[in-house]
């Protein structure tokens, strides 16, 4: 029989001190003399220290009544304490050297295992007198309980202090976070300002780029008109329309024409680039096979070979579906690539092939074994007017527009243009285009309408009015169409043209768009408003490159559009014949593009 007096956890060094003081107090209350009190306190100190060092120990003070009244101290300690026990089995288990002091001070020290890794240690000291009175025990318990509570209050106070300290820390941390936040906000404002600046710069760049495109476009137009005059006039001369030429004269005119053609090619490339950049380029889709395309190119490109030792090979395309895209532009890309390859290859071969690419594209490859391109130049060659310096450049002419234009065209057709090259090993250009332009990624479903051919019968009327401010152009048209035994009337301005149209009632009108004062669009509208001129067929004769919208507007009221560049007698005559094919015909419905 035993009754508990007090119990407590053993965790810290301070717990050990408290416990031995408590033990001394209990011993005193139970009537032990001073010497015994010190013995008991010392023994508790020894054992409690062992219990507190390894793991959380526990101590309990009990009053034992049998076999003799005694104070019993029961301590639970970790079994891993060194020297606490000797022996492993319950039979051999006995106190180890660490317990020697306690054994010397107390009457009895008993040890047993409790659970896994724990030891229960019991020390007893016989009471000096008889069992104390129950009242005395009760008051002792009360007192101990009070002490424990005051301890608990202390503990609470300590926890409060801890909490306050943590609160302070939190506040400091919050201040720090606030500060960081402010800093970030400032940085953010800076970034926003920088961003706006960048935006401005980008806008300025966009404007500059637009201006450049407009400038190139305008300049090219201005150049196109005189150069077409030069070409057409030289053609007239060569056709001996105005009498025979001497051999020397013929040679000279041929040179004029050749230079003129080179210049026109450059201007056309520039214009194409400008058109693509300004988004005004039209894609006229037709259906064609790669084999057909290669066939046409083969004939066109053979004469371009500079070096006799170079073979131009077109691989027969296998398993390629029919393409639905702008054949002229695809052909333009390939012409550019092949003529480049031929320029930079002195011997060996230039091989053109086609195969299906990813995402429903067709990839055309032009491979040469020429000089090759250094890695650092492989992007630069796609910049306008860039020509890579090198020994191979000698004797090779070019504008530096072919590759940039080809790349733009490939992109326009829903693909790309890439190059692989090793200096000295040759280069391969891969031009990808969408197999079906209308189905290309990002297509908005527009379709370039195929120009419809006009079917008209023979003409009978005679007077033709030419409205153009350019004297050379007027002259040229007359000469071109001269043997159609037509009468020509000329007008240099829109007003004069309108007056003549009313007076003469010509069978057809050739109208330029760029006129001083009243431009071609206005003249056309005025002609259509006036009942007496409403039915006269009008052919637009211009050097401007027209947008789809402008073409639509013109074709509603005109028979066709004749481009000043590349004007040939056949085309002009053909169109005129159609216009003259009968009075009262409905204007519009088609265009002949040269």
């Amino acid at each position: 029989m035993s009754s508990s007096l007090f119990q407590s956890e053993l965790r810290t060094g301070q717990d050990v001190v408290n416990t031995r003081q408590r033990g001394r107090h209990i011993a005193q209350s139970l009537g032990f003399d001073g010497q015994d009190q010190v013995r008991i306190a010392t023994a508790i100190s020894e054992v409690a220290r062992l219990a507190a060092t390894q793991a959380n120990g526990h101590i309990e003070f009990l009053l034992e009544e049998r076999p003799v009244p005694a104070l019993l101290v029961r301590v639970r300690a970790s079994a891993f304490n060194e020297g606490l026990v000797v022996g492993n089995t319950p039979e051999t288990l006995r106190p180890g050297p660490a317990l020697a002091p306690a054994q010397r001070l107390m009457d009895r020290v008993v040890l047993r295992r409790e659970g896994d890794g724990w030891l229960l240690l019991e020390m007893a000291q016989r009471l000096p007198h008889l069992t104390p009175l129950p009242q005395a025990l009760a008051s002792l318990r009360d007192e101990l309980e009070r002490q424990r509570r005051s301890n608990a209050a202390d503990e609470l106070q300590k926890q409060n202090a801890d909490l306050l300290r943590i609160l302070d820390e939190l506040q400091a941390r919050k201040a720090e976070v606030d500060r960081l936040n402010r800093e970030l906000e400032e940085t953010n404002r800076g970034v926003v300002a920088l961003y706006a600046e960048l935006e401005e710069k980008a806008e300025a760049l966009r404007r500059a780029s637009d201006m450049k495109t407009r400038f190139i476009s305008n300049v090219s137009h201005e150049l196109r008109t005189p150069i077409s005059s030069v070409l057409n006039l030289s053609r007239l001369l060569l056709d001996r329309i105005d009498g025979p030429l001497t051999t020397e004269q013929e040679k000279q005119v041929l040179f004029i024409r050749k230079s003129g053609e080179a210049l026109q090619e450059l201007i056309d490339d520039l214009l194409d680039l400008a058109k693509i950049e300004s988004g005004r380029s039209e894609v006229l889709c037709t259906r064609f096979s790669v084999a057909e395309l290669f066939g046409a190119l083969r004939g066109m490109l053979r004469p371009l070979r500079v070096n006799e030792g170079v073979l131009l090979v077109f691989d027969e395309p296998v398993g390629l579906p029919e393409l639905h895209t702008d054949e002229r532009k695809v052909s333009q890309i390939l012409r550019n690539l092949v003529s480049n390859a031929l320029k930079f290859t002195t011997r060996g071969e230039v091989r053109v092939s086609a195969k299906p690419g990813p995402r429903d594209t067709v990839v055309f490859s032009v491979r040469d074994n020429g000089v090759g391109i250094a890695p650092e130049d492989q992007e630069r060659i796609f910049e306008e007017f860039v020509q890579v310096e090198g020994p191979h450049q000698q004797g090779v002419k070019g504008t530096g527009l072919g590759l940039p234009l080809s790349r733009r065209l490939s992109e326009l057709l829903g693909g790309s243009l890439l190059v692989e090259s090793q200096p000295g090993q040759g280069s391969t250009f891969h031009a990808a285009v969408s197999r079906d332009y209308t189905q290309r990624p990002g297509a908005a479903g527009e379709e370039g309408g195929d120009p419809q051919e006009l079917e008209r019968d023979a003409p009978h009327t005679r007077t033709v009015l030419i409205i153009d401010d350019d004297e050379v152009a007027r002259y040229l048209l007359q000469r071109l169409l001269s043997d159609a035994s037509l009468q020509f009337r000329e007008a240099a301005t829109g007003f004069e043209g309108l007056r003549l149209a009313r007076e003469v009632r010509p069978a057809a009108i050739l109208l330029d768009l760029s006129l001083p004062g009243m431009d071609g669009f206005e003249v056309l509208e005025a002609l259509r408003r006036e009942p007496s001129t409403r039915d006269i067929p009008v052919i637009i004769h211009t050097s401007r490159s027209l947008t789809e919208q402008e073409r639509g507007r013109l074709l509603a009221h005109a028979v066709g559009i004749l481009s000043k560049s590349g004007l040939t007698r056949d085309v002009a005559f053909d169109l005129l014949q159609r216009a003259l094919s009968g009075p009262g015909q409905t204007p519009g419905g088609g265009a002949a593009q040269t």
């Binding site: 060094g13 001394r24 306190a41 020894e46």
Partner: protein, 133 residues
Amino acid sequence: MERIPILRMGRVLLVTIQVDMHDQLAVTLQDDLTAKIVETGAGGVLIDISSLEVVDSFIGRILGNIATMSRVLDAQTVVVGMQPAVAITLVELGMSLPGIRTALNVEKGMTLLQASMDADEVVLEVADASLED
């Protein structure tokens, strides 16, 4: 952090332990005291344990350590005021506190310290004199 104060009186360091020391406090006292001996060049240490009611094996060992370390640092240690019950318990524990000199109270302790420090000096003087010969 709580500490046991160490007072200096001439060449003697005076330590009065008036609280029931937990183990860490005892170890700190040992460190502080050796540091102080080196710092002041004290010749003697007097430790008053008259308030201690429990001296267990650990504190006994610390007292022994202090005495040994002081001696290495050329200082004498005297422990005074041990309660009889504590003394008896220590003996029962089997601890004889080897190397620690004890005195009944502070006064006797100081006398003992003074005498042994004087004796050290005499020995030194004699050594010096013999050198001069």
